[in-house]
Symmetry: C2
Subunit: 531 residues, 2 copies
């Protein structure tokens, strides 16, 4: 029977303090539901004593039934020199009415005497009193020993005394916090091992990533005896962030055999990561371990033989086990065979060595380097191949366009308009639209004009729009626009690059529509069994 | 005397294979110079045998005098069944004429018999021959044992035999590669310790970050006896990247006392990171350990007392030691005292508890969460305070503007134009300009119109322009524009947010100009001793 590790997520508390993160109440609820669904055990969601908005949040979520997770409120030990019942922060924590509570306290003499300015004995009483008070109020309490590792190095005996005070008070777990993120893995291992042998209470670990060691330190702590791991799902937090749970969990479970999540939940790791990044308005880095888009993307002239014969050479775990997937870049050897098949569908006379084939491969490589993704986007490849081979007749031409951006005025919602003139097989059509901005207006005007010829364009909806400056040069920078479209059956991405954000958007929009029309045409040809 | 660790950077080889990275020859030279300047020992810059473009690069850099680093070419052991002199890849490596060479070879029986399809003995000969051949040609050779840790787990004796073959051939270092990035820190420690005791050759370590453990594994390997660390300066590389040298180096030197860089070079760590990210066209994450903008940014209701009394509580190393700096977010307790001083300069009647003060603090907090940085930007704060307190008269108003984006045509370089009408103290001025796009045109037109009233605006130049979509909603997304401006004496940032990228840019541009004018006015008032 493998050992259970309690997973403790502080995205909504420690993570919420990160620069650039700004959760609305709705955002927090969505994060909460995502963490509950993936199987996090304790969700630390706010500090009601010092953050009035958190009181509202805990009130709001009282009606939400969590399937798995325990909600947790965070706060400090009682203030020195007063009774627990008189501490207003603790009152707020009780009011938050969560099943779990996490309380932080001092374990470093210097901090106790110089900063809180009280005695070492009073500090022990503060810890024990607070635990007992919350336990008596029906809470499952975790004690967070702040600056534990630095404190332990200065005065190991006192540091352990603090944990014992928490134990006497009835805490279910004492989490050792590497508050400034500077401790090294071997130190973590030695100290946790020693502490775990000195106390009966379950030991937890709370690391930060200031040294790039948050994940490693957490894993070493578990190997040394810790049974609760605190972190944030995607490593969000102040400075360099908290220990990244989405990296820690698969390491602990898939490699070391600890019990963190059910196998079904483990398979939700990647989709949960994507969802939380989206809610947080952060880009999930492609290079994110386990859950990033590129985590299992293979390149480097590797033979597909080797991948298939010995997948572990290149994949330390099966991507599907965390809900991710292998990606083979089309421009590389492994993807070539697919491309050549598609090329031959369009021109059977071409071979691997043809000059045209090389031209297509170069074009694909160039676009992939720009960030364009072809994997699973066969229609985009076909469009590209047809264009490179000169076997493509555009579905439409843009004869002219004008966008007008104007100073927004009172009473007028939309501040931009666009006029587009298209030409389809010799017939012109001009149309106009208003929009939130020039790009929005252009998109609408273009579709209106084309729907006259291709009614099915109505089915297309844009689901994502990303603008990225890729070449610095102040306002004359090169801009890359990536759009994602769907017609309810398919999802596809298109890219446009230009110094002009409107032109870049237009390139992407045109490609998106052409893709739709080509795709529809192929569907029809298949129905008629032409292909 | 502390032990020297050889730093081996593969940004220009392994890093160059990362998705989204695309180095021109000029880019590579700039990276080379940056790495040389910061004191990297070996710079692996290409694979001339399999990448013809790298041959050109090595040719091109023959005239460059590196102050510290040794340039290194990368390639494979000779192919099985042929003599070293007949291997064309090795010929290309010789031709590259670098002082150092890194050769990769197999250490895992399964790979040798099933994938290269040769015998274990022939593999040993391939390793030894290749080392000897390159040594005879005057190269300092590092042998990279691929899949070493997986191979060692399967057949430790053979894995060590491979290293001994490299040793016999004259390699100066045998680097153990965790090719699929899946090995755990304790395993690395045990295996490296054992290997280091079995061979005389210096042992190196080459880790990947697939498990989020690249930095930790490299450090553990050094603690176990490795004396060469391979990685990439910012962790670039395939999949989840290579071991991040900018995280590893300060850990090894500042905490464990190894000798990696001179103290002056260590202080260049942050500026080097910024430069390499800029060349690579990657955003250097604010959360990057040691070198990120937020690595030493303090929040969370911390008292400035505590930071000053016990800086190590919150900073695991002094930021200046890596050329970084402490940042204290203005919206937090530590920044409040500064803000209140500035508020009192403008309105001495206000106190910490005034409603206006709270309003200003809330506004600053909101903007900081959006990514606006006030630290060191007192004039921006003053502008904001004046606006919130109603003690500001705008230097100008924009009465109207129109931008026109048009389809680019043959012969006409600029595809956009803008007309702007400004009003300064009742006097209107209209002007127009052409540009690369609507934003560029608007920027130029606005300045032209304002220069009539404020000639000093001519001194202002935009140095950076970032567009970020912050709310999804396809083409109606909210966009945040950040611009950086300078007038030769000052550098300042401004932000604008809107659903319309042009309006967002305009807000930022207006603020930038207002800042300049306010700043000039204050300078003048100081000269006249009014303030």
């Amino acid at each position: 029977m493998s050992e259970k590790i309690i997973l403790f997520d502080s995205t909504l508390r420690d993570g919420a303090q990160a620069e650039g993160i700004s959760f609305s109440v709705e955002d927090k609820i969505r994060v909460l539901e995502t963490l509950d669904r993936v199987g996090i055990d304790i969700i630390e969601a706010g500090n009601p004593g010092s953050n009035p908005k958190d009181i509202d949040f805990f009130e709001r979520v009282k009606d939400i039934e969590l399937k798995h997770s325990k909600l947790c409120a965070f706060g400090s030990t009682r203030r020195s020199g007063i009774g627990v019942e008189d501490d207003t922060n603790l009152q707020a924590i009780i009011q938050a009415d969560t099943p779990a509570v996490a309380i932080f306290g001092k374990a470093w003499p210097f901090h106790i005497t110089e900063i809180i300015k009280t005695t070492l004995d009073e500090n022990l009483a503060m810890v024990e009193d607070t635990m007992a008070f919350l336990k008596a109020n029906g809470k499952a309490v975790t004690f967070d020993a702040e600056h534990f590792f630095d404190g332990y190095k200065m005065d190991p005996a006192y540091a352990v005394e603090v944990l014992k005070a928490a134990e006497r008070g009835g805490a279910e777990c004492a989490a050792l916090c590497d508050t400034n993120g500077g401790t090294l893995p071997m130190e973590i291992m030695e100290i946790v091992k020693h502490v775990a042998s000195e106390v009966d209470i379950a030991v937890g670990i709370h690391c930060h990533n200031d040294s790039g060691l948050g994940v490693a330190n957490s894993i070493m702590a578990v190997q040394a005896g810790a049974r609760q791991v605190q972190g944030t799902f995607l490593g969000y937090g102040e400075r360099c962030g908290n220990a990244n749970l989405s990296s820690i969990i698969p390491n602990l479970q898939l490699k070391l055999g600890y019990d963190c999540l059910s196998p079904e939940s483990m398979e939700k790791l990647t989709s949960s990561a994507i969802r939380i990044a989206e809610i947080s308005n952060y880009v999930l880095s492609g290079r994110e371990p386990f859950v990033g888009k590129s985590a299992f993307a293979h390149k480097g002239g590797m033979h597909i033989d080797a991948v298939l014969k010995a997948p572990t050479s290149f994949e330390h775990i099966p991507p599907e086990s965390v809900g991710n997937q292998r990606r083979i870049l089309m421009s590389e050897v492994a993807g070539r065979s697919t491309i050549i098949q598609l090329i031959n569908e369009i021109d059977p006379s071409l071979t691997k060595k043809s000059e045209e084939t090389t031209r297509v491969m170069d074009k694909i490589k160039e676009l992939e380097y720009q960030g364009y993704q072809f994997e699973g986007a066969e229609s985009s490849i076909k469009l590209l191949i047809r264009k490179e081979l000169g076997k493509y007749r555009p579905f439409f031409q843009i004869e002219d366009f004008k966008t007008i951006g104007e100073k927004p005025v009172e009473g007028r919602a939309l501040s931009a308009s666009a006029v587009v003139k298209v030409n389809v097989e010799g017939q012109s059509e001009i149309n106009a639209a208003e929009g939130d901005g020039p790009v929005n207006a252009l998109d609408k005007a273009l579709r209106k004009a084309l729907e006259v010829f291709y009614p099915k364009i109505k089915e297309v909806r844009l689901t994502d729009f990303k603008v990225r400056v890729i070449d610095k040069g102040a306002t004359a920078s090169k801009v890359r626009v990536l759009i994602e479209s769907t017609d309810g059956e398919d999802i596809w991405t298109n890219v446009g690059v230009s110094t002009d954000v409107i032109e870049a958007s237009l390139i992407a929009l045109i490609d998106s529509i052409e893709y739709k029309l080509l795709n529809d045409m192929e569907r029809k040809l298949k129905e008629f069994k032409f292909i």
